[in-house]
C-alpha cells in the first residue's frame, strides 16, 4: 500500500455520456457493436502500452517524468479494464499468464523440469511504477513493458479472430460482476497504485455497455426485467463514482444492492433472450454453476465438478460413507476413524493444535474443517492431493494415522456380511473395491457443505439482523484489511474467482509458538515437501493452503500448526504484517510486511464478521448415530466409535 492515486480520466465522462444511447432491436447489430467496441478498445490498449513504453524509456529521476510514467501506467490499466470482461473471459489462462496475473512466481506447468517463472504483466508493473523510487527500476520497467507489448500483441492477434457469440457476451458480463466484486474491489490487482475504485468504475461501464446493446431486445421481451437491470446498472455506476475512496468504500452495500442482484438478473436476461447455454455448445461443466442466481450461495458452485460424484445410488452411498467415516475398522490399530480428527461437534475439526496419531502422539498438522472442503482444486494443507476422492488414501497409508492399505481394508470388509450388503447395494457394478470405500466416504464428506450463513443471507437481501460491526468487518475484510485478496469470496478460501478452478497457497511465516517476542518460524516446509515433483521449488517452502474462514468460530486452534488459540491472536499476527512484519527472514513471503494498521475496533469488526459466517449442516452438532456393522472375526467387533 504505497499511495492512493486518484485518476478520473476524460474517457470516463465519455463513457457515461454515450452509455445510454439506444441501439437497434436486432441481435446481429448488438453483437456487431460489441465486437466493434472490443476491436477498437484493444487497439487503444496497444497505443497505451506504446505510450507507457515511451514514458519508461524517457524516465528520469525527475518528479514530472515519474508522474508521466505513472499516468501512462494508470491509463494502460484503465484501457485494460475496458476489455477485461472479454479478454479474460475468452482466455483466462493467457490473461493470467502474461497480462494481469498475480505478481508472484510460479512453477512452469507440464514440463519435465522444475522451472520457476517470474511474474509478468500489469500487476508486477503496478508495484514497480508506484515503487518509492521508480527510476531505480527503469531497466526492469522497460523490460517488462516490452514483454507485455510482445505478449499482448500476440494475444490481440488471437482475440481479434474469435467468433464472438451472444452466449459469450452474457457469460462474460456475469463473470465480470464476480471479478469486479471479489478481485478488483479488494485491491487484488492494484497492489501499488491502489487505483481499484476508478478501475472498477471503468470495468463496470464497459461491461454493461455490452448489455445496453442487447437491452432493446430484453425490453421487447420483458420490459420489467429491462427496467430493473438498467436502473441497477446506473445506480451501481453512480455509487462507484461517488464513493471513490478505497479504504472507506462500502463494499457490502455495493454488492448487496447492485452487483449481486445484477448477477442473478443477467441469468434471466440470458434465458429471456433464448441464448444457448455452454452445455448446448458442447462444453464441459465448470466449477461455477452458471444457473446459480446469487454470488453468496452454494448454488454459485457446481459441486459435481469438484467431487465427481453422480446421483446414482447417492443415498446408499452417502449412508455407507457415513458409516465408514465413523468406523475405526479402516485403521490398522482399530482406534482411529475419520471422525477421530474430524468431529462433527467441532465443525469437523478436533480442537487439538495438531491431530493425534493412533499412538496418541501429536502429528504434524492441525485438522482442517471438512465443511465446504470439497470446494477446492487441491486438498490437504500442503496441497498434495488433486482429487477429492483419493484424499483419504494418504490417511490410510500414513504410518501415524490408519497405517494400512486398501488390500487390507478390502480383506477386512469382506468379513462383514452387513458391510457387504451395504456395499453391494450401493455399488452393484463394481462391488467391494477401493473405489467403493473412497467414493462412499466422498459422498458423505461432499454432503458436509453450507453457504447460507447469516452474512450470506444479509448480502442476499434477506430479512436478517446484521450488526454494524459485522458489516464494517466485511468491508475491512474485503478492502483495507486485504483478507479477501487471499480468502476469496464467497468461499473465503483460496479458490480464485471468477473461475474458482485453482487453489492457492501462501507463505505467511507462521511461527512455531505464539510467543511474539521470540518469533521463530515453524519448521514445517508445507507445500514444498508434499512429494509432488513440481512443487519442490523453493518458492513453495513453508507455503500452506489458504483455508476457509467459514465456521471459523468453531474450528480453533488456528493455522497449519494450531499455533493460535484465538481469532484475536490470528488477527494480531496479520495486523503486524505476518512473519515478515515480525522481522522473520524467509524468502518468498506473500504478505508485504507493512502493518495493516487496523484499530482494535476494526479487528473486533472483522472477527464479528467472521462469526456471522457460520452455517453448520443441520443436525451436525449432535453425536452421530452410527451402528457399527459386525464382523465374523470377533476381534474386530471390539472396536469402538471414537471419543470425539
Amino acid at each position: 500500500m504505497k499511495k492512493v492515486a486518484i485518476i478520473v480520466p476524460a474517457i470516463l465522462f465519455f463513457l457515461i455520456a454515450v452509455a445510454w444511447q439506444p441501439s437497434p432491436v436486432d441481435p446481429r447489430s448488438a453483437l456487431d457493436q460489441v465486437q466493434k467496441d472490443y476491436l477498437r478498445n484493444m487497439e487503444y490498449l496497444s497505443q497505451d502500452i506504446q505510450t507507457y513504453y515511451d514514458a519508461a524509456t524517457s524516465l528520469t529521476d525527475d518528479a514530472a517524468a515519474i508522474a508521466t510514467l505513472q499516468q501512462a501506467h494508470l491509463k494502460a490499466r484503465l484501457s485494460y479494464k475496458q476489455i477485461e470482461y472479454l479478454i479474460e473471459y475468452f482466455d483466462a489462462a493467457g490473461a493470467k499468464q502474461v497480462l494481469n496475473g498475480a505478481p508472484l512466481p510460479k512453477t512452469e506447468p507440464k514440463v519435465a523440469e522444475l522451472r520457476v517463472i517470474e511474474p509478468k504483466g500489469l500487476q508486477v508493473l503496478d508495484e514497480l511504477a508506484f515503487d518509492d523510487a521508480p527510476f531505480g527500476k527503469k531497466d526492469e520497467l522497460i523490460y517488462l513493458i516490452k514483454q507485455l507489448q510482445s505478449n499482448y500483441e500476440a494475444m490481440r492477434a488471437y482475440q481479434g479472430k474469435i467468433k464472438i457469440t451472444h452466449r459469450h457476451i452474457i457469460e462474460a458480463i456475469r463473470q465480470e460482476i464476480i471479478r469486479i466484486s471479489f478481485l478488483g474491489l479488494t485491491g487484488f490487482d492494484t497492489p501499488g497504485s491502489v487505483n481499484a475504485l476508478p478501475e472498477a468504475l471503468i470495468a463496470w461501464h464497459s461491461t454493461f455497455r455490452a448489455y445496453n446493446y442487447y437491452d432493446p431486445m430484453v425490453h421487447a421481451a420483458d420490459p420489467k426485467l429491462s427496467g430493473t437491470v438498467k436502473q441497477l446498472i446506473k445506480d451501481g455506476a453512480n455509487y462507484l463514482a461517488s464513493n471513490p475512496d478505497f479504504d472507506t468504500f462500502d463494499r457490502a452495500t455495493f454488492i448487496k444492492d447492485y452487483a449481486n442482484p445484477l448477477y442473478g438478473l443477467l441469468l434471466d436476461v440470458h434465458h429471456t433472450l433464448q441464448i444457448e447455454t455452454a452445455a448446448e455448445a458442447g462444453l464441459q461443466p465448470t466449477a461455477v454453476d452458471y444457473e446459480g442466481r446469487s454470488m453468496f450461495s452454494e448454488s454459485l458452485f457446481n459441486k459435481d465438478y469438484f467431487s465427481g460424484l453422480t446421483d446414482e445410488y447417492a443415498a446408499e452411498r452417502r449412508e455407507l460413507g457415513r458409516t465408514l467415516f465413523y468406523d475405526p475398522i479402516l485403521s490398522e490399530s482399530l482406534k482411529l476413524s475419520c471422525g477421530s480428527c474430524h468431529d462433527p461437534q467441532r465443525a469437523f475439526t478436533d480442537g487439538q493444535r495438531t491431530s493425534l496419531s493412533h499412538a496418541g502422539m501429536p502429528t504434524r498438522r492441525n485438522a482442517p474443517t471438512l465443511i465446504n472442503a470439497v470446494y477446492a482444486e487441491k486438498y490437504f494443507l500442503d496441497l498434495r492431493e488433486e482429487r477429492f476422492e483419493t484424499q483419504m488414501n494418504h490417511v490410510v497409508s500414513d504410518h501415524n494415522e490408519f497405517n494400512s492399505d486398501f488390500i487390507e481394508i478390502i480383506d477386512k470388509l469382506a468379513q462383514s456380511e452387513e458391510y457387504m450388503a451395504m456395499i453391494n447395494a450401493a455399488y452393484p457394478t463394481y462391488g467391494l473395491s477401493q473405489h467403493a470405500v473412497t467414493n462412499a466416504i466422498s459422498h458423505y464428506v461432499a454432503s458436509l457443505t453450507g453457504m447460507d450463513s447469516p452474512f450470506d443471507q444479509y448480502l442476499n437481501g434477506e430479512e436478517v439482523a446484521m450488526s454494524e460491526s459485522a458489516i464494517n468487518g466485511f468491508n475491512i475484510f474485503m478492502g483495507k484489511g486485504a483478507c479477501g485478496t487471499c480468502h476469496f469470496a464467497p468461499s473465503y478460501s483460496g479458490i480464485v474467482p471468477p473461475l474458482y478452478m485453482e487453489s492457492e497457497s501462501e507463505v505467511l511465516g507462521v511461527p512455531a509458538t505464539p510467543d511474539t517476542a521470540d518469533f521463530v518460524l515453524d519448521p514445517d516446509l508445507g507445500r514444498q515437501a508434499n512429494a509432488k515433483p513440481l512443487d519442490e521449488a523453493d518458492i513453495y517452502a513453508h507455503s500452506f493452503k489458504t483455508v476457509t474462514v467459514r465456521n471459523i468460530e468453531h474450528t480453533a486452534p488456528y493455522m497449519h500448526n494450531g499455533v493460535y488459540a484465538t481469532l484475536e491472536e490470528v488477527m494480531d499476527f496479520y495486523n503486524k504484517g505476518g512473519g515478515i512484519g515480525h522481522g522473520l527472514e524467509l524468502d518468498n513471503q506473500t504478505l508485504l510486511g507493512d502493518p495493516l494498521n487496523l484499530t482494535a475496533t476494526e479487528i473486533a469488526d472483522v472477527i464479528s464478521f467472521m462469526k456471522e459466517l457460520n452455517d453448520l449442516p443441520s443436525g451436525l452438532a449432535e453425536h452421530p448415530q452410527v451402528e457399527l456393522p459386525t464382523f465374523s472375526d470377533p476381534a474386530l467387533n471390539n472396536r469402538q466409535i471414537n471419543n470425539y
Binding site: E280, S307, A529, N530, P533
Partner: protein, 642 residues
C-alpha cells in the same frame, strides 16, 4: 412463449448472416413434409475399458521385506507397449507405464509398469485379459513389472519403445533427476527438499514420498563391461531406457550404453539395428543409437542429429561417467536443439521415422543456455522467431505454443517438419473460420503408426501445455486432449487433414495409443483426468477402441463437399439449394453444405445443441433418436441417429 418465439423468429429470418441467429429454446416439431431426412448409422467403433489404475489389482513380487502378494495398481498411465504372441495362443502382451515417482511398499517406490496378456473373444469381438501364471509363481491377470529387485527402481515412466520389428519393449525414465533428494520427493530429514540428501538404505519410515532407498547403486551387468561394478549415486540410476520382459513381468536391463538423459520415446527401424529417440527437454536433441549387430542393442554407437553437419549425425561418445549426462555431450558436439522432443514412431511401410516436438510456451532462455554450451539452433525455430519479429529463438519472448511433428527418412537423412501444430493466429496460418475449433493441434506428445484399410496413419495424441492463446475454445478453461489420425499418404499435410478419433475425459492427457496385432483395436491411455469425470473415467485407465477392421479410408473422409455435391445433384431442380447434410458415422460428424449457425432439437422440440459458424457438427454425445437440425435461414432437416 409462442408469442415471443415469433418475435425472435423475425430476427432469425432477417439476420441471414452466421454467428448471430437466435434459436428458440422450444419449437413445434415439424409435422408432415420435411425436405430431408438423414440417417446416421451406428459407429463401427466401440469403447472398452481394459485396465483401471487405482482400482484393478496387480500381482507383486517380494519387495522391501513384504512377501509377494497383491496391491492396487499405480496410476498415471502413459506409454503402452504391444508384444504380439508368436504362438498365436493369444493376441499378445500389453505393457503400461506409470508416469510417477511415488512410494509403494509392495510395488516398489518410484514409477513402474503393469503388464497383462490379452486375447479376443471370437463371439463378442471384445478383448479379454487372460489369466496367467508366471515363472516366478505369480498368478493373476495384471502383473507389476519388478524393477526394485532387478535393475533398481524406476521412475517417471513416460514413453518408451514398442519395437515394430519384434515387439520388444523399453520403458523411458523421463524427467532428468539431479539429486537424491529429487527422487526421494521431499523430506524433512535435510531441512529442504532441494538440499542434498544423504545416501541411506531403504527404510519404511523414511519420510519421502518417492524413492526411499537412496543408498549408492552398484551396477551389476555382464552386458556392459565398462559399466559393470560402477558405483552410482542412487539418482544416477534413473533416466535410462529400460528393457523389460512383458511375458514374465520383470525388467531386463537399464540401457546404460545409450546414456543417461530424460528419455521420452523411441522407435526401431526395419533393420532392427537403429533406434531413434527423443528426450523431453529444452534444449532436447533428436538421438539415434546404431547397434553393431541387428537385435543386439548392448553394443553400438550413439549419435545426435545436427542439421548443419554434412552427414547430419554427430557421434556422441564419452566415458561411463560422461555418459551420465548425455545432453551436455550433445551440446558440446554442436547438436541441433529442439523444444521438447517426445515420442518417436516408425512406419513399417515406408521405414520413415516421425517424432513429436511438443513445444513449450517461452523456450528462449533455455535455447540461449544451449547456445552458450555449444549447441546449434534448429532452422525451424529461428524461422518461427523471425516471423514473430524477433532476432532468433533465444529471445525470451519467442513463443512456441503449439508444437509440431517432424519426419526423418533414414534413406536420405532428410529431416523436416511434417505437420505444424496450430493455428498460430498469424495472418498466413490462420484457419478458415469454419474449421476452427475442430481443426487444431495442440502440443502433440504421444505418437504411433496404425494401419487402417491397408493404409498407414499417424496416431497423434495431445498433451496440452496450457489452455491459453486459443488452445481451448474461447471462454473455456479446462483441458481437453484429443487423439487424431493423419493419413500418411497425404503430402505436405496441414491440420485440416487431421481426423479426430476420440477425446479423453476432462483434464486428462491422451497417450499410449497402439494398435493390436490383429488390426481391430487401438489401445489408448487416459492419464490424470480431473475428478469430475464419472468412475472409472476419473482414474488413469487403459481403454480399447474396437472395430478398425470395419473402417475404410473412405469412411474417414473429412471432406464432405464432394459427397454433398453428389447428393444435391440427385435432388429435383427446385430443391437443389436446400439445406443439405451428410453424416459420417465413423467420426460421428454431420457435415453441412455451407457454413452456418445450427440448432439441434430433439424429438419433443427442445433445443439440445447449438453450434455457430460451422460446417460440421460433432454429434457423438447425442443419444440414438430423432433430431431436427435447423440452420440460420430457418431450414430444417431431420436427423435420425442410430
Amino acid at each position: 412463449m409462442l408469442k415471443f418465439n415469433t418475435f425472435l423468429a423475425l430476427f432469425l429470418c432477417a439476420s441471414g448472416l452466421i454467428g448471430q441467429a437466435i434459436f428458440a429454446e422450444e419449437i413445434d416439431v415439424p409435422k408432415g413434409h420435411i425436405s430431408e431426412r438423414v440417417v446416421m448409422p451406428p459407429s463401427p467403433l466401440t469403447l472398452q475399458v481394459l485396465f483401471v489404475g487405482g482400482h484393478d489389482i496387480v500381482q507383486t513380487t517380494e519387495t522391501y521385506y513384504n512377501p509377494a502378494g497383491r496391491q492396487i495398481a499405480k496410476e498415471w498411465h502413459d506409454f503402452i507397449g504391444m508384444t504380439p504372441d508368436p504362438t498365436g495362443a493369444s493376441l499378445g502382451w500389453v505393457s503400461v507405464n506409470h508416469e510417477m515417482i511415488y512410494r509403494d511398499d509392495k510395488i516398489g517406490d518410484g514409477g513402474g509398469m503393469t503388464v497383462f496378456r490379452i486375447d479376443r473373444d471370437p463371439i463378442t469381438g471384445l478383448l479379454e485379459v487372460v489369466d496367467q501364471t508366471l515363472e516366478d509363481g505369480r498368478s493373476g491377470q495384471y502383473f507389476n513389472v519388478d524393477f526394485a529387485n532387478t535393475v533398481g527402481e524406476t521412475g517417471m515412466n513416460c514413453g518408451g519403445i514398442s519395437s515394430t520389428f519384434d515387439g520388444r519393449i523399453w520403458t523411458a525414465e523421463e524427467w532428468f533427476r539431479t539429486s537424491n533428494t529429487s527422487i526421494h520427493n521431499s523430506n524433512s530429514d535435510v531441512g529442504s527438499p532441494t538440499a542434498d540428501l544423504p545416501a541411506e538404505p531403504y527404510d519404511d519410515d523414511r519420510p519421502g514420498g518417492g524413492v526411499r532407498d537412496t543408498a549408492d547403486f552398484t551396477v551389476f551387468s555382464e552386458d556392459f563391461p565398462e559399466w559393470d561394478g560402477m558405483i552410482l549415486k542412487k539418482y544416477q540410476n534413473f533416466n535410462y531406457m529400460v528393457e523389460i520382459d512383458p511375458k514374465e513381468a520383470k525388467a531386463i536391463r537399464k540401457q546404460y550404453n545409450w546414456g543417461r538423459m530424460g528419455w521420452e520415446g523411441g522407435a526401431i527401424t526395419n533393420d532392427n539395428q537403429n533406434v531413434y529417440m527423443g528426450p523431453d527437454a529444452t534444449p532436447g536433441y533428436f538421438m539415434r543409437f546404431r547397434a553393431d549387430r541387428p537385435g543386439d542393442f548392448t553394443k553400438g554407437s550413439l549419435y545426435a542429429y545436427k542439421e548443419d553437419a554434412a552427414d547430419k549425425w554427430v557421434l556422441i561418445e564419452g566415458t561411463p561417467e560422461e555418459m551420465l549426462d548425455v545432453s551436455s555431450l550433445c551440446a558440446a558436439a554442436g547438436a541441433t536443439m529442439y523444444n521438447r522432443p517426445e515420442w518417436v514412431a516408425h512406419d513399417k511401410a515406408s521405414n520413415k521415422i516421425y517424432w513429436t516436438e511438443t513445444g513449450r510456451d517461452f523456450p528462449g532462455s533455455r535455447f540461449a543456455n544451449g547456445i552458450a554450451a555449444g549447441a546449434t539452433m534448429s532452422y525451424a525455430h529461428n524461422a518461427r522467431a523471425e516471423a514473430q519479429g524477433l532476432a532468433d529463438a533465444t529471445d525470451s519472448n519467442y513463443r512456441d505454443t503449439y508444437g509440431r511433428i517432424w519426419v526423418y527418412d533414414p534413406a536420405t537423412r532428410e529431416h523436416y517438419v511434417h505437420l505444424e501444430g496450430g493455428p498460430d493466429w498469424t495472418e498466413a496460418m490462420s484457419p478458415s473460420e469454419s474449421e476452427y475449433f475442430d481443426k487444431h493441434l495442440t502440443n502433440p506428445d504421444g505418437l504411433s503408426v496404425m494401419t487402417i484399410d491397408g493404409q498407414s496413419f499417424l496416431v497423434i495424441q495431445e498433451d496440452m501445455n496450457g489452455t491459453s492463446y486459443g488452445r481451448m475454445p474461447a471462454g473455456t478453461s479446462g483441458r481437453f486432449c484429443e487423439l487424431y489420425i493423419l493419413n500418411l499418404a497425404i503430402e505436405n499435410p496441414t491440420i485440416d487433414d487431421l481426423i479426430r478419433i476420440t477425446a479423453v475425459p476432462a483434464g486428462a492427457e491422451v497417450t499410449g495409443a497402439i494398435q493390436t496385432p490383429d488390426g481391430v483395436s487401438l489401445l489408448v491411455n487416459s492419464q490424470h483426468p480431473i475428478v469430475s469425470n464419472p468412475f472409472p473415467w476419473n482414474h488413469s485407465l487403459t481403454f480399447a477402441i474396437n472395430g478398425f477392421d470395419r473402417v475404410t479410408v473412405e469412411d474417414l473422409n473429412t471432406d464432405a463437399e464432394e459427397a454433398i455435391a453428389v447428393k444435391k445433384k440427385n435432388f429435383k431442380d427446385n430443391v437443389e439449394d436446400a439445406f443439405t447434410i451428410y453424416p459420417n458415422p465413423t467420426t460421428r460428424t454431420v457435415f453441412l453444405d455451407k457454413t452456418t449457425d445450427v440448432a439441434i432439437y430433439d424429438v419433443r422440440g427442445s433445443r439440445v445443441k447449438v453450434e455457430r459458424a460451422t460446417n460440421r457438427v460433432d454429434v457423438s454425445e447425442l443419444k440414438a433418436g430423432i433430431y431436427f437440425i435447423q440452420n440460420t435461414a430457418g431450414e430444417m432437416v431431420q436427423l435420425v441417429i442410430e
